[in-house]
């Protein structure tokens, strides 16, 4: 009887017979007020930022917005591209599905006559790495750039017609960045006039090779070219590229003498079959050597033509793309963070004096603003520097092609290294900062950040490790510094000379004035700091002959400092130009964004700026207040500033970050209606080995054992109409 005391376990009285399929009272429930959509609508209404104009300003290049619209419309209506099951699929299943989707995309490309940019847009929107990625990129590029005319004639059409699937096999188990030391060998056979490709050790195994593990039937293999000298002793000519068929075109089995496989699960890239490959005395013809710049004739004579520095050009281009990806990746995380922290309320203002005062939007707390809003500004800073890199690439290419002028190449290469490092670090760290700003829901799948993080976290490592390639930037800068020190009357050929010479002239007398409210002072301060650090590094290395390893940390720091000054500079310049143009209110907000980025970056480097004498310790407080004021100015426009990035809900795939703000109903719907685990009733009594209610202990034991031992048929596609399902 209710209320009759505890002795009778009265709480069980309320067991009301049978479960009724779970009553649907939840379907009528709404979130407590205020509703997310109303909050976002109000936020958007009170901002004057012109979203369509700003979106065009940011993304007009190459028709990005129209292309996004066009491709998205096609993908969205195809159920194969639904993302709803992704987080519930095993990694092997992700490859199965990924391959099916990649095939479908290719069929659509053919049917809709999409161009390469449309194709790449589909990858971006799908947010799933295609098993064809390396076939479509590095493999194709190698053939285009490294083949002679005959080779191109032979292979390029097949590749472009997608008749063969390839990959680019350079990295090995034991060697990544240091390509010169890769172990795989291609030895010239004088008798048979062909090459033997061979893996002399386990660490010579190709490793991480995208599209290789399960998909590719061809590979461009990078191997040490070895040719016997007159006494028959093999001499190394360094790494070269070879076109190799690796799987039978009919059976798709590896050819004899080749061992291939997928390297297994990773942080992300679930749908990509990064692979390994070893060769055992595998013969390829003489013509397998990609021969545009190097070749071996039938007598085993090696010829290398001058390899123009265009390689650096395409590296720069690849890095500009990575910076671009960093921008959109970070923008995606900030979009989720801003929208959700506007909608999420928690605690009243402590100074309100009332426990029942309305709770504040989480974004109204300065401790949330300081994490999220500088990152919002960072998305813009990254964007403008990527644009500048792109322009620089175009201009440098033009000069090389039209005038044979290679003078800008070294700087472009140096700058692209440091910027790749800084941008991907800012974005990778920034995404995690956004995730934590989401509070508890940031740990859930509803954040939409799981695939973003998983796929982005290799960026600080690929195309040059972020802590390694900064040496190139610093080394270049030290050389420029040395030249200026040794030739103080040099006629400046560019900005770097100009800045460095001015620094050298004034450094003993004065440091720049600094008022955190003045953009010019900020720009000058960042430039001065770069020069200060470059001069110090120059002294260590050139004057005091410090060992390179002893100053590596300083070099990394110098590179970052220089690149921060570039981010500030290009952001500022972009606003001066504002091309395409921006409304006055929009432009005014952008100036606030610039200020926030510059001040926040400046504050993080306070120790440097105090060391240079630019910043007085007494100014620290004022700097912090200025940052808070600037954040409050931006706060009102935050929602619209992210709308301008135009990241579709389909890409965000986030209950928290939806454009319409309908956060809680979506979180609930996804859990309640789309979670396969909720379709199963479990036996949670530890005294029974049964796991699914009704399957019995014997069946459970067999099933679990198969899962644990990895021998379950499920990984390679069990029948969907299993007898067990019917029994549930």
């Amino acid at each position: 009887m209710p209320g009759a005391g505890v002795a009778a376990k009265s709480y069980k009285i309320y067991t009301r017979g049978k479960y009724n399929g779970m009553s649907d009272f939840v379907l009528k429930l709404k979130p407590a007020e205020p509703q997310g959509p109303d909050i976002l609508a109000a936020e958007r209404a009170r901002s004057q930022v012109n979203v369509p104009q700003l979106a065009h300003h940011l993304l007009q290049r190459n028709g990005f917005l129209d292309r996004q619209k066009k491709v998205l419309a096609v993908l969205k209506k195809n159920p194969l591209f639904s993302k709803k099951a992704n987080l519930n699929l095993s990694r092997p299943d992700r490859y199965h599905v990924g391959l099916a989707r990649a095939k479908e995309v290719r069929r659509i490309v053919r049917r809709e006559r999409w161009n390469h940019d449309d194709y790449m847009m589909a990858y971006y929107l799908l947010d799933e790495v295609s098993p064809y990625l390396l076939s479509d990129s590095m493999f194709t590029t190698s053939i285009q750039q490294q083949c002679n005319q005959e080779q191109k004639a032979q292979w390029l059409k097949e590749v472009e017609n997608w008749e063969i699937t390839g990959c680019y096999a350079q990295t090995e188990l034991g060697h990544g960045s240091n390509v010169r030391r890769i172990e795989c060998q291609a030895s010239w056979n004088t008798d048979t006039k062909d090459f033997t490709i061979h893996s002399p050790s386990l660490t010579a195994s190709k490793w991480w090779i995208g599209s290789l593990g399960r998909s590719a039937n061809h590979a461009v293999v990078v191997a040490q070219l070895l040719i016997p000298d007159s006494e028959g002793k093999l001499v190394s000519y360094g790494p070269h590229q070879f076109m190799v068929q690796i799987r039978d075109l009919k059976t798709h089995q590896p050819l004899e003498g080749v061992v291939i496989g997928d390297i297994g699960p990773k942080y992300g890239y679930a749908s990509m079959d990064n692979g390994y490959m070893l060769f055992n005395q595998f013969r390829v013809p003489r013509t397998a050597l990609l021969a545009r710049y190097s070749s071996v004739d039938e007598n085993g004579k090696y010829t290398r033509s001058s390899n123009p520095a265009t390689v650096y050009g395409s590296l720069t281009y690849a890095r500009a793309i990575i910076i671009n990806q960093s921008t959109l990746a970070l923008a995606r995380a900030v979009t989720v963070a801003v929208r959700y922290t506007l909608i999420r309320t928690q605690f009243s203002d402590r100074d309100s004096g009332s426990e029942t005062a309305p709770e504040l939007s989480v974004l109204d707390y300065s401790t949330v603003q300081i994490r999220v809003l500088p990152l919002l500004a960072t998305t813009y800073a990254l964007h403008y520097v990527a644009e500048a890199m792109n322009d620089m690439y175009q201009e440098t290419s033009m000069r090389i092609e039209e005038d044979g002028d290679f003078s800008q190449l070294a700087e472009m290469h140096a700058v692209s290294s440091g910027l790749k490092s800084l941008s991907t670090t800012l974005a990778a760290d920034g995404i995690e900062t956004c995730r934590r700003a989401l509070g508890g829901h940031g740990f859930g799948g509803g954040s939409g950040l799981i695939p973003l993080v998983a796929n982005f976290l290799n960026k600080p490592t690929v195309e040059g490790d972020n802590w390694m390639i900064t040496q190139q930037t610093a080394s270049y800068f030290i050389k420029r510094m040395q030249r200026c020190v040794e030739h103080p009357d040099l006629k400046p050929v560019d900005d770097v000379d100009f800045t460095v010479l001015r620094f050298l002239k004034t450094r003993d007398q004065e440091t720049p004035a600094f008022d955190p409210g003045r953009a010019e002072d900020l720009l000058a301060a960042f430039q001065y700091r770069s020069c200060f650090l470059a001069y110090r590094a120059y002294q260590f290395r050139i004057v005091q002959k410090a060992s390179w390893n002893d100053i590596l940390i300083d070099l990394h720091h110098l590179s970052n400092a220089h690149c921060e000054s570039l981010l500030v500079k290009y952001f500022h310049e972009a606003l001066q130009r504002a091309d395409p143009p921006l409304d006055p209110p929009t432009l005014a907000t952008m100036h606030q964004l610039f200020k926030l980025f510059a001040l926040f970056t400046f504050q993080n480097a306070s120790a440097d700026f105090m060391a240079t004498g630019i910043l007085a310790p007494a100014q620290l407080d004022a700097l912090a207040r200025e940052i808070q004021t600037t954040m409050q100015n931006i706060r009102v426009d935050a929602a619209r500033l992210l709308d301008a990035w135009s990241i579709p809900d389909y890409v965000l795939d986030s209950s928290l970050g939806r454009f319409d703000g309908d956060v809680y109903p979506t979180l609930f719907k996804v859990a309640h209606e789309e979670n396969p685990l909720n379709k199963v009733t479990f036996n949670s009594d530890y005294r029974s080995e049964e796991i699914i209610k009704g399957e019995g202990e014997e069946q459970a034991r067999r099933r679990i054992q198969a899962l644990v031992q990895g021998t379950s048929g499920r990984e390679w596609g069990a029948d969907i109409s299993s007898p067990l399902k019917a029994s549930l």
Copy 2:
């Protein structure tokens, strides 16, 4: 014909008939020299750190090492606890397997008569969150601490005998930290003398509740207690705990009026069924209210007895455990990073002047050292502060129980908040830093860091968000500061008073001397900085009446600064005591470790130290050099310093971090022999919809569609002997 020119597609000549099951030449291959095991053996040989002694020094508390050995031996021989398939299982399968393992652990506990600590050790070693976790922890604790005697008599035995499975249902979709505003209601029914539990909105849904989604049949539900006043108007008495049966004990279906489910995939915690739950006018008896401190009698009269502050005590204890978890989590990542970066070589020394000079261990680069070695030192710093927290908890509890002396409670609570925040941030960020230091292989499953990261990333949020709870530390410190300012002649009752009063007396005259080589100077500098920041915060808030929200960032900074000074202090004190004792060479290395931690932390706060006047800008370089020298001193002992943490290979589950250093053969073996994807041959031609070679287009379409739509039978346990498998 080989070498006959490109026109004939001669590279196809080398297709040698049928694949022969992939030749096994790889089995004979070894990595290039030097071998990993030799490298680690040499590293260990040249260090004088006494590993067994240091391990005992660190982990003697409560017989940790013996317990680890005992429990590990049992787990390792049981095939159910093999981790090899984990990364290849879908999230729903991870729950199936997790439940099976958790049941088996319970059966072992019974059979082997393990105690609670042994049981917890099994969780730690398995490194998989048990679906019973919340039943074993918060649910049980609630009953022990919040029930009156009658309730305990009724429920505790059932719970401790594992006859029922429970959870602790506090957090809601719309409310986490702010418990006072949770929406779930428990209204007193005057007529029936019982309560109605009800979810008035969607955001009132319980959410994130561990063990609820699929496992629990009972819950301690936190709900607003509402009792009608004399006019029948419901009056809220705030959140209270209620014992509620939520599922039928026989069918395991939710009771009528209750909706329950699993919230879906998350970053980590794959084997845990975090759940949601809503109530529709669900009746529970009067005695459901856990009544040790609050009760409602049959006339609806509410009584609250003085709730002693032991709640804060157990919160502190929970946080000491989290700091401890942070230590071991970080130690695990650093173990992997140090062992692998010792074995991995890349590039020769740039100053060697030779391209063929042997490549350096990656850990010999200062840019790798600066990321990994300070984190190695941090594991020790975190350890000693966790020990200190534990001692503080014991002492405070004793004082309360024996003398009714609550005087230490406020400080302990304040300190535990700030330390939880700082420790989990250091560990979470540190793990990712270690991962990136691994280079490319850090993105692969062989790192062993995937489950570590996934399961640790909620720590900055749970038990109080890291950016929120620092307010408590700062607020407490400001109060202490205010008291000292207002009573300069106060007799110091503790360290805080003493330090603050000394700061107030001297701050206008002098700043402490600072020599980075002197431990005392470092300690004094950190204390001075805390006081400096606390005084500034006091001025903002108390003197200038700044709004709380405006100074939140300063408060967070103050808390971190204070906790950094505690980390430095407790590390230093522990070495003075060295209890259990340490050999002179081991102790000498520990002093270097302390120095590295203190200097590195100091350097990161250079701006603060310059602002206080302790650090002159001219000292920055010397500081950096001192850090590099200290790292070189530690470098030689790095391998042994991590061996002392005694993290078994079974926990590391890392090809890169294995104790024996056999990195590359293990990476290869796992990929080549244990990857289920490699057992399937795919059709990678986009012109066909077939995915698995031989399955045909129709079957592939059906299969992929089911996967994409989440309707595949596989999620709930398809038959392992599916017809498809046989056909392969």
